[in-house]
C-alpha cells in the first residue's frame, strides 16, 4: 500500500506550485480511483485465499468428521487401498515420497543454483548476466509436462541402464524436480548477492583477501539467510509439483526400499485419482485431506521463509 501511494504524493508536489482550483479536482478523482481499485483487488485476493482455504479444509476435514477416518491413521498408515473390501487410508507413503523427492531435489539444485549465482555476480558478471542468467530463466518457462516427458525419455532410461531397478522412482523424480526449481533458487540467490553492501567487499579486498576468500568467508555467510530463502521457496515449488513427478515416479502406494523403486507423492496420487472419484465419496474426501496436508505444508514453508527473512534483516 505504501508503495502505491508514493508516486501520487510525488505528482502532487509537482503540480502544487501552479495551484489552480480546476487542477485539483481531476487529481482527487485520480487518487480516489486508484484507492478504490487497489482496495478492490485486495478484497478479491483475500476472498480468493479464504475461499480456497475454506474449500480445501471443508472437504479435507469431512474425511475425519463425517466418514470417520482417524487423523492418526491417515498420517501414519502404511497401506492406501480406498477401493478395497475394507477401505484403508494410510497416507504415510505419499508424505514420505513428497518429502524425500523435494529434499533430494533441493540438495541437488541448491549448490548448482548458488554457485551459478556466485559466478554471475562475483566472478564473471558480464558473461553471467548476458548468457547464463537468460538461459536459467528460460528453464522457468518450460511447461512441467515437457520436463516430465524429458524425464520419461532420458532420465528414466539412463537410470535404468546404470542402476538396478526400472529407473523410475524417487531418484528420477528428484532429478526432474531439481531442474524445475533451479531458476527459483538461482534468481533469488543472484538478487541477494548483487544487493550486498559494496563497502563490505571493498573492506575485505582492502585487507588483502583474495576474491575467492572474500566470496566464501564473507559474501556467502552474509547472504546465507537469503540463499536459504531461495532454497526453501524452491523446495515448496518441488513439493507442490504434480505432473512431471507423476510421470517419472511410478506411483505405487508404498514406501520404496531404494531410490530406484516406484514411489508416490501427495500430488501424484491426487492427480491420478481425483478425476475418477465421485465428489462426496470417502475416497474423494480422503484425496482432499491429502490436499489439506499440502496446503498446511505450504504454510509451513511460508513461515520458514518469513523467519529467514527476519533474520536477514537483523
Amino acid at each position: 500500500m505504501e508503495q502505491m501511494e508514493q508516486p501520487a504524493a510525488h505528482d502532487q508536489s509537482r503540480i502544487q506550485p501552479r495551484t489552480n482550483h480546476k487542477l485539483v479536482k481531476p487529481h482527487i478523482m485520480e487518487e480516489w480511483v486508484g484507492k478504490v481499485f487497489t482496495t478492490l483487488c485486495i478484497i478479491v485476493l483475500v476472498v480468493t485465499i479464504a475461499a480456497i482455504v475454506y474449500f480445501v479444509s471443508s472437504h479435507g476435514l469431512a474425511t475425519f468428521i463425517t466418514d470417520g477416518v482417524s487423523l492418526g491413521g491417515l498420517l501414519s498408515g502404511l497401506k492406501w487401498d480406498p477401493e478395497g473390501e475394507i477401505p484403508l487410508y494410510g497416507a504415510l507413503p505419499f508424505i514420505f515420497g513428497s518429502f524425500s523427492t523435494s529434499l533430494l531435489a533441493a540438495i541437488i539444485a541448491a549448490p548448482l543454483g548458488c554457485c551459478a549465482a556466485v559466478f554471475m555476480t562475483q566472478i564473471m558478471p558480464g558473461l553471467g548476466k548476458r548468457v547464463l542468467q537468460p538461459v536459467i530463466e528460460l528453464l522457468a518457462g518450460i511447461p512441467s509436462v515437457v520436463f516430465g516427458f524429458v524425464g520419461l525419455s532420458i532420465v528414466v532410461p539412463f537410470l535404468r541402464s546404470v542402476f538396478p531397478g526400472q529407473g523410475i522412482g524417487i531418484a528420477a523424480g528428484a532429478i526432474v524436480l531439481s531442474f524445475m526449481i533451479l531458476p527459483t533458487i538461482t534468481t533469488i540467490a543472484t538478487d541477494a548477492l548483487s544487493n550486498l553492501q559494496r563497502g563490505l567487499k571493498e573492506g575485505s579486498f582492502a585487507l588483502g583477501a583474495t576474491r575467492w576468500q572474500t566470496i566464501y568467508r564473507l559474501v556467502i555467510p552474509t547472504t546465507l539467510p537469503s540463499l536459504l530463502t531461495g532454497v526453501v521457496l524452491g523446495m515448496s515449488r518441488a513439493f507442490g509439483e504434480a505432473l512431471a513427478v507423476q510421470m517419472v515416479i511410478g506411483n505405487a502406494p508404498h514406501i520404496p526400499h531404494s531410490l530406484f523403486e516406484s514411489a508416490s507423492t501427495l500430488t501424484s496420487v491426487i492427480t491420478l485419482d481425483m478425476g475418477n472419484t465421485v465428489t462426496g465419496s470417502t475416497h474423494n474426501n480422503a484425496l482432499w485431506s491429502l490436499a489439506l496436508i499440502l496446503l498446511a505444508m505450504t504454510f509451513v514453508f511460508v513461515f520458514i521463509v518469513r523467519f529467514l527473512e527476519r533474520r536477514n534483516n537483523r
Binding site: 520419461l152 516406484s262 485419482d273 481425483m274 478425476g275 462426496g280
Partner: protein
C-alpha cells in the same frame, strides 16, 4: 516502471475476472437452455439452438470431440454448440448429477460409481450407450509369451508370479503397469479379465494416461499393462486372452470378454438439443465411420448385451 507493472497486474486481474464471470454465465446458460429449447422444438420446424457441455471420461473424449466438431459443422444443427471436457468418469458423473454438465461421459455404469449412501443418485441418470471399448493385455516386445490364461493373469496382477519363466516365457522379471485403483479402465479389466481385484504391488507402476502407459510398456523390458484397443499399435505386443485374440469379430460375438460400454449420461430424459446430439452420435453415419475409425466398436453391432452387474445376455 512501477506504473507499467501496476497496469499489467491490473489488466491480468481484469481479464482473469472477466473469464471467471463468462464461464459462470456459460454454465448457467447450459442448464437453462435445455428447458427453453424443448418448447422451441415443439413449435415445429424451427431450428434447434442452445449449447451442450459434455464432460468426463478421457477414454471417450476423442470420440465425442471428433463427433461434436462434425455435428456443429452440419447446417441442420448450426444453432447448437457442443463443448467437450475431460476430467475422468467420476467428474463426468458428478457434474451431470449436479446439473453442471448436460452430458456426463463415463466408462462404467453410474451404479458402480454411486455406491452406498449415494446409490439413489444413479437412479436419476439416464444411460445412453454410444460405443463399446475393448481392452487387451499388452507386453513389452522382449516378452515371448503371446497367450495368457485368466489364472495366469490373476497370478501376475496379484503378485504371485513375478517372473516370465513361470508362465512359459524367458527368465525375465515382470514389471506391472497398472491404472490407479479408482480408474474405470482398471475396474473393467479386473472385472472381466481377472474376475478379482488386482493388488498395488510394491515396485509396480501406476499411470492414468494411456499414452504414458504405452510408453512404459514400450520402453521397460518385461513390462505388462493393459490398453484400450484404440491405443494399440506395433510398438507393443498384444497378448491373447484364453487363446482368443482381441479382434472385433471376437468382441461382438462375446468370445472376448474384456470390454465395456462407453456411456453418455443425462440427468432425466434429455432435452431436445441434447437428444439431437445423442441421436447424431448413434446415427449409422457416425457409428460406422468415426466410431470404428477411432478404434471403438459400434454399440449396435454387439451380439451380446451386458448390464450394470456384469451379467451377459445374448
Amino acid at each position: 516502471m512501477k506504473k507499467a507493472l501496476f497496469i499489467v497486474v491490473a489488466l491480468m486481474l481484469t481479464i482473469g475476472l472477466a473469464a471467471c464471470g463468462s464461464n459462470k454465465e456459460n454454465n448457467g446458460g447450459n442448464a437453462n437452455s435445455g428447458t427453453a429449447n424443448t418448447g422451441n422444438a415443439n413449435a415445429g420446424g424451427e431450428a434447434l439452438s442452445g449449447s451442450i457441455l459434455a464432460a468426463g471420461s478421457t477414454a471417450l473424449q476423442p470420440l465425442v470431440d471428433q463427433v461434436s466438431k462434425k455435428f456443429m459443422e452440419d447446417s441442420k444443427y448450426s444453432g447448437i454448440t457442443v463443448q467437450v471436457q475431460g476430467g475422468g468418469s467420476g467428474t463426468g458423473l458428478t457434474q451431470v448429477q449436479a446439473g453442471q454438465a448436460g452430458i456426463g461421459n463415463s466408462d462404467i455404469f453410474a451404479e458402480e460409481k454411486f455406491t452406498d449412501a449415494d446409490a439413489d443418485k444413479a437412479k436419476e441418470l439416464v444411460d445412453h450407450q454410444v460405443a463399446v471399448v475393448a481392452m487387451a493385455a499388452v507386453v513389452n516386445k522382449s516378452v515371448t509369451v503371446d497367450n495368457l490364461t485368466k489364472q495366469q493373469l490373476v497370478d501376475i496382477f496379484t503378485g504371485k508370479v513375478t517372473n516370465w519363466k513361470e508362465v512359459g516365457g524367458e527368465d525375465e522379471k515382470i514389471t506391472l503397469i497398472n491404472r490407479p485403483s479408482s480408474s474405470g479402465t482398471r475396474k473393467t479389466f479386473e472385472k472381466f479379465a481377472l474376475g478379482t481385484a488386482s493388488q498395488d504391488i510394491a515396485g509396480s507402476i501406476q499411470e492414468d494416461a494411456s499414452g504414458t502407459v504405452k510408453k512404459y510398456v514400450t520402453d521397460t523390458p518385461g513390462a505388462i499393462g493393459y490398453l484400450a484397443l484404440s491405443y494399440l499399435d506395433d510398438t507393443v505386443k498384444t497378448v491373447k486372452y484364453e487363446g482368443v485374440e482381441p479382434k472385433e469379430e471376437n468382441i461382438v460375438s462375446g468370445a472376448y470378454p474384456v470390454w465395456a460400454y462407453e456411456h453418455m449420461y443425462t440427468k432425466g430424459e434429455p432435452d431436445a438439443v441434447t437428444k439431437a446430439f445423442l441421436d447424431y452420435m448413434l446415427s449409422d453415419d457416425v457409428q460406422n465411420s468415426d466410431v470404428t475409425e477411432l478404434g471403438y466398436i459400434p454399440v449396435g453391432k454387439m451380439q451380446v448385451k451386458r448390464d450394470a452387474a456384469g451379467a451377459i445376455t445374448k
